[in-house]
Symmetry: C2
Subunit: 326 residues, 2 copies
């Protein structure tokens, strides 16, 4: 690998640019046209080898995930993704096969959402990936963390705890031995950004965030910004068939995966109960479901009740990443 | 340092947001308003410890440089900088003093150019900094690499080779012992993005780029994109007083610093000779000068002549970074 290598151009450049990209990869900066009347939503996230992913992860999955976690942030704003920049730091020993798989995973997800890679940087060093994603949202239509009101229902898309359980099973070396192990691994390594759900929630959700640090921690951000509290019903937390196969009767460990495990990239949101039928109608057209898991209350703080109304302890409030184990 | 730390908010968040930032740091994405009729210019660059800077560099200078190299890319497009995102990967041993100095260096340069830090990410890992910078440019007014024409003059702002000479002296351990050493060090570690010059060149330069990889390599990008060649006059290459103090009579080594040394972050540009008086008039108001160093020719390739008309060898075509030494 040469000291100055232009990998972005070799592996990631499009043949044609969309009309809103007057100048793409290959100059000092990309030139972009935000549609008139739209607001730009911008987010950036870094994945570091050994912290956010294991060194032996599939390059294809890693390319997918580096983009997915950023698109998930746009989804949580109700934004329509449009453009992305990729800053890739690679060890000198990186080979073409790895780069081909990484770019294939990255670009497949980009194409699926009509996202154009418009620029980036490649440097040599310890493996690390920083993606900056940009999208559009109409003024006033963005979903923020700040609008939850007492009496609002709390909802989540998909299922919770799969990624944390997968990480736990990976560390124990038994993910390939159990039923549903490959599905759990896919949930950890190849998450689905809930872009359609985010778009469907515009004008409906009072607050929204994506579950990256864990349900309790991310709900905590909504509560803090909205100045409210919440009551969650542990029994209502949606768990996947693969999760249930491992934990048919939820024990304390299972609750902690669902409550505090990170990396699920589901959308967590609130809205007035009176609008729940609208929510159901909008989600009927999507490929992901949603579940009411609790309600917003006026008193600060987060409480979690089991099916008998007993309060469950919140052992961990945030995701501790790969380095710290599950 | 906690596993999940929100350094961006603690060290980098503004008290007030500009009117074009309806939502800044603290949600899933920033929300930004591009002025009507303007185009967005976006660039991203990563600095990796041990590759782009030495581990013992001043944190204040590093904060400055991480932003400066990105603003330099916007300058080379003729864009007016507006917003920036900071993705910071820090070793677990990073202390508050380092962060305070880094943010002070970063924010001082941001404030000097009315640039708002609107978002970012902080992760734990080997020290690395990725900045994404955004600015505005009117459609049709952007400076690209693609418009150089045979007969155009080739110009550069400021002086060349200072950063490469500084790196060489640092490696030899004698930068503090020589006259002008501190000025050379400043040029390497605390470069000035030529934003005013870039704005002044709008509607005037036929092509532009910033000198990050070295004059020969970066001019090569203009030649490639414009489909032309170039003749440079080595004797015309602008050298600073500190550079001249080290190399009063330019030898082969000195030429190579000026021709192939990276990290100068001067603007390199072309324009029709007939417009040189306009150039002089516009630069009269700036705090940096510019020098004609050669001309664009129809035949492909780059040739460099000494004062006697002999062709100089181009030993190195690109910057090899800190890891490879000077």
């Amino acid at each position: 690998m040469p000291a100055e290598f232009d990998l972005i151009r070799r592996w990631f450049t499009a043949d044609e640019w969309p009309a809103n990209v007057p100048l793409g990869v290959g100059d000092d900066a990309a030139l972009l046209d935000v549609p008139a009347g739209q607001r730009l939503a911008v987010t950036t996230d870094t994945l570091v080898c050994g912290v956010h992913f294991l060194p032996d992860v599939s390059a294809h999955d890693l390319g997918h995930k580096a983009l997915a976690v950023n698109l998930s942030d746009l989804a949580a704003m109700g934004a329509q993704p449009a453009w992305v920049l990729l800053a890739l730091t690679l060890p000198s020993a990186t080979d073409d096969a790895w780069l081909e798989a990484f770019s294939a995973g990255f670009l497949a997800l980009a194409r699926a959402h009509d996202v154009a890679l418009v620029g980036g940087d490649t440097t040599q060093g310890p493996l690390s990936i920083t993606v900056t994603a940009m999208g559009f949202v109409l003024p006033g239509a963005a979903l923020t963390r700040a609008g939850a009101q007492p009496g609002d229902g709390i909802y989540v898309t998909g299922t919770l705890g799969d990624a944390a359980l997968a990480l736990h099973l990976l560390h124990e070396g038994r993910i390939d031995a159990i039923a549903g192990g490959s599905e759990l691994r896919r949930r950890l390594q190849c998450p689905t950004p809930r872009i359609g759900a985010g778009l469907a929630l515009r004008g409906l959700a009072s607050a929204a965030i994506d579950v990256s640090d864990g349900l309790a921690a991310d709900l905590g951000h909504i509560l803090e910004r909205s100045g409210v509290g919440a009551l969650l019903h542990a029994d209502a937390l949606p768990r996947s068939p693969a999760f249930r196969a491992c934990h048919s009767e939820p024990d304390t460990e299972a609750w902690q995966f669902a409550l505090s495990g990170g990396d699920d990239y589901e959308l967590l949101f609130t809205l007035p109960l009176a609008r729940e039928s609208e929510l159901a109608a909008r989600f009927a057209a999507l490929d992901v479901g949603c579940t009411r898991i609790g309600e917003i209350v006026a008193d600060a703080g987060l409480r979690v009740l089991d099916r008998d109304g007993r309060e469950l302890p919140l052992a961990r409030r945030g995701y501790e990443h790969f380095r710290n184990g599950a």
